[in-house]
């Protein structure tokens, strides 16, 4: 049990340290306005990271996230511009995300293909589809989108939570329930932790795999919707390389790429760490944008090493028993 929470505690400690250090240099970082921004600006990355956390815990990977975000936005913009009802469009793109994810999961299990390759083809397919639909950025003008963009829940101290941040927190709560209070959640951990045993115990591998990728596809689609709503537009290049940020957020959140270990709530903190790094560098205002990537890369390295160390100390302790 202790082993399970250690990486998460490390993540929260890093977040707190960054937050406090940043706030010491730039006191405004402590304002509730910036806190609200941290939740809002990275809401879509965190949502995508929650989805991919399930996949990574099961021992797989999903590279189609960024392209799915781009495609969902472009599809929404085109359909709404063509006069379709925005709510219907919303339901349609979410169902599409779910079905496309399920399709990827089916291919992975049925053809016994590496998830890396199966979802890499998704990355190209969906990005190509974006360019097919539209080459330019298209504005989304609709009362529904304006309504969503005007949701502001005030925080004490002048800050606010946006609609996107609220959806993100809801999706997080939903994911925690799925991961820890359903049989499916248990199966995800079992599949990534010890696959041969899971098969021997008669776990429905195909159904579980399909459901995992369907869930990830759905979360990517939700992330795409939030991105499109935030920018009120569909842009075929939106979400480019974002799958890597989502995976980074998940890993920073304590999820292990080897599978079986991780908590969905870690994705929230992982995503917030990424947002905080950018924010501090922007607040500084004289550092090159390259530092955002360098800092992220450095943290990722540190995390992988820490995780390795935790795992090896745990397994050597188990051996000693």
């Amino acid at each position: 049990m202790r082993d399970r929470y250690l990486p998460l505690l490390a993540t929260i400690a890093v977040f707190a340290a960054l937050y406090i250090a940043g706030g010491m240099f730039y006191p405004r970082i402590f304002s509730s306005l910036v806190f609200g921004h941290l939740l809002a600006d990275n809401a879509f990355i965190i949502i995508a990271a929650i989805g991919v956390t399930f996949v990574i815990i099961s021992g797989g990977i999903d590279l189609s996230i960024g392209s799915m975000i781009g495609f969902v936005g472009v599809a929404m913009a085109s359909l709404i511009q063509a006069g379709w009802d925005p709510v219907l469009v919303l339901v349609l793109v979410l169902v599409f995300g779910l079905l496309y994810g399920a399709f990827q999961g089916f291919i992975i299990d049925f053809c016994d293909i590496q998830p890396f390759i199966a979802t890499l083809s998704g990355l190209f397919l969906l990005r190509g589809a974006c360019f097919m639909v539209n080459l330019n950025s298209t504005p989304i003008r609709s009362p529904f989108v304006s309504w969503f963009n005007n949701i502001y829940v005030d925080l004490p101290g002048g800050g606010f939570l946006t609609g996107g941040a609220l959806v993100m927190l809801f999706m997080l709560a939903l994911a925690i329930v799925i991961a820890h209070y359903t049989r499916f959640g248990t199966n995800v951990y079992a599949m990534g932790g010890d696959r041969p045993s899971a098969i021997l115990m008669g776990m429905p591998m195909r159904r579980t795999t399909v459901m995992i990728y369907a869930l990830a596809g759905f979360y990517s689609a939700v992330a795409g919707v939030i991105y499109a709503m935030n920018t009120s537009s569909g842009y075929p290049l939106a979400g480019n390389t974002l799958e890597l940020s989502a995976i980074a957020a998940s890993v920073l959140g304590g999820t292990m790429l080897t599978g079986g270990v991780g908590l969905v709530v870690g994705a929230l903190f992982g995503g917030m760490i990424l947002a905080l790094i950018s924010t501090i560098i922007i607040f500084n205002g004289s550092l090159n944008g390259a530092w955002i990537m360098i800092a992220t890369g450095f943290l990722l390295f540190a995390f992988i090493v820490i995780q390795r160390w935790i795992v090896s100390s745990f397994s050597s302790a188990a051996k000693a028993d």
Binding site: R28, H37, S137, S233, N240, I282, G285, M293
Partner: protein, 304 residues
């Protein structure tokens, strides 16, 4: 009594300090990224000339991502900067964040590219070069040089890019005034030297060594430099046999102009801080309605 005086002096001193630090204007500048040659030069000039104007510049490089730009603008708002300058990565998606800036009473200025917003009052003005005017200027020079009679081959920029579309339109608009001037061939060279070379090689083949062609118009210098290379390889004399006119005025083009291999280039300035900052500072001093677009002039440079 003496103590009181001392306190008063300290308070007055502190107030003066506070007022001088409040005098320094803080501006947040959200830049697209650092692609190509022009944009890094533009970024560097913005940073250098901020020092000259005594501006405390917060510079944020968005690495080509809109989400990073939105984050930067929100961070500027949270920091309470006096003004925000955005060089937008894409035209759409700015309504909400500009609304937030407006709510915080922070004026927003656009540099370079345009935005599409429902409410134009969300930004003060856009300060940038006029691609259309660049095309017109190139064509006007050509008309004067060729006495209004010229068959032109055109090397277009990336299909669909604003620079390519507007330079083409401006060039064509002036050509339309001269019945004996026309574009006989036109193809995209993607703004690259390699692309320009390939397109010119195709033109040379298709027109029997550019027979009857009097000029080559390229949407940027890089393509024109490629075209010059292709013509030299085919044994032609660029700049003498054919008039060479393009846009950008990059260092390599300056050399080509000196060598007589090119004839004219319209300058796309990267040192535009001196055009942008005075507008922003004047506005902060006394807010007033400005035209929605302030054009930065681009000079035409010719071979000596």
């Amino acid at each position: 009594m003496k103590n009181l005086k001392l306190v008063a002096a300290v308070v007055a001193g502190a107030m003066m300090l506070a007022s001088t630090s409040a005098m320094a204007v803080t501006i947040g500048f959200s830049q697209v990224g650092d692609e190509g040659d022009w944009r890094p030069a533009f970024s560097k000039d913005m940073q250098d000339s901020a020092v000259e104007y005594g501006i405390d510049l917060k510079f944020a490089d968005a690495q080509g991502k809109q989400e990073e730009q939105l984050r930067a603008v929100r961070a500027f708002i949270a920091q309470g900067v006096d003004a925000i300058i955005i060089a937008p990565v894409v035209v759409t998606g700015w309504d909400q964040v500009l609304q937030e800036a407006k709510k915080a009473s922070i004026p927003v200025f656009l540099a370079d590219r345009d935005v599409e917003v429902e409410d134009n009052s969300l930004y003060v003005t856009r300060i940038s070069a006029d691609f259309n005017l660049e095309g017109k200027l190139a064509a006007a020079w050509l008309a004067a040089e060729s006495k209004g009679s010229c068959k032109v081959v055109e090397l277009q920029g990336t299909v669909g890019s604003a620079a390519a579309i507007e330079r083409q339109k401006g060039f064509q608009a002036v050509l339309d005034q001269f019945p004996a001037m026309e574009i006989v061939r036109s193809q995209s060279g993607d703004f690259t030297t390699e692309g320009g070379k390939q397109v010119m090689e195709a033109f040379i083949k298709a027109t029997n060594n550019l027979e009857g062609i009097c000029a080559s118009f390229a949407h940027n210098d890089n393509m024109q430099l490629g075209a010059i290379q292709a013509m030299k390889e085919a044994g032609l004399n660029p700049g003498t046999d054919v008039l060479m006119v393009s846009v950008d005025y990059v260092p390599a083009m300056i050399k080509a102009l000196e060598a007589g291999e090119a004839n004219a280039s319209v300058e796309l300035r990267s040192a535009i801080g001196k055009f942008i900052y005075p507008v922003v500072l004047d506005y902060l001093e006394a807010p007033k309605d400005l035209p929605k677009w302030i054009v930065i002039p681009g000079d035409l440079h010719t071979a000596k």
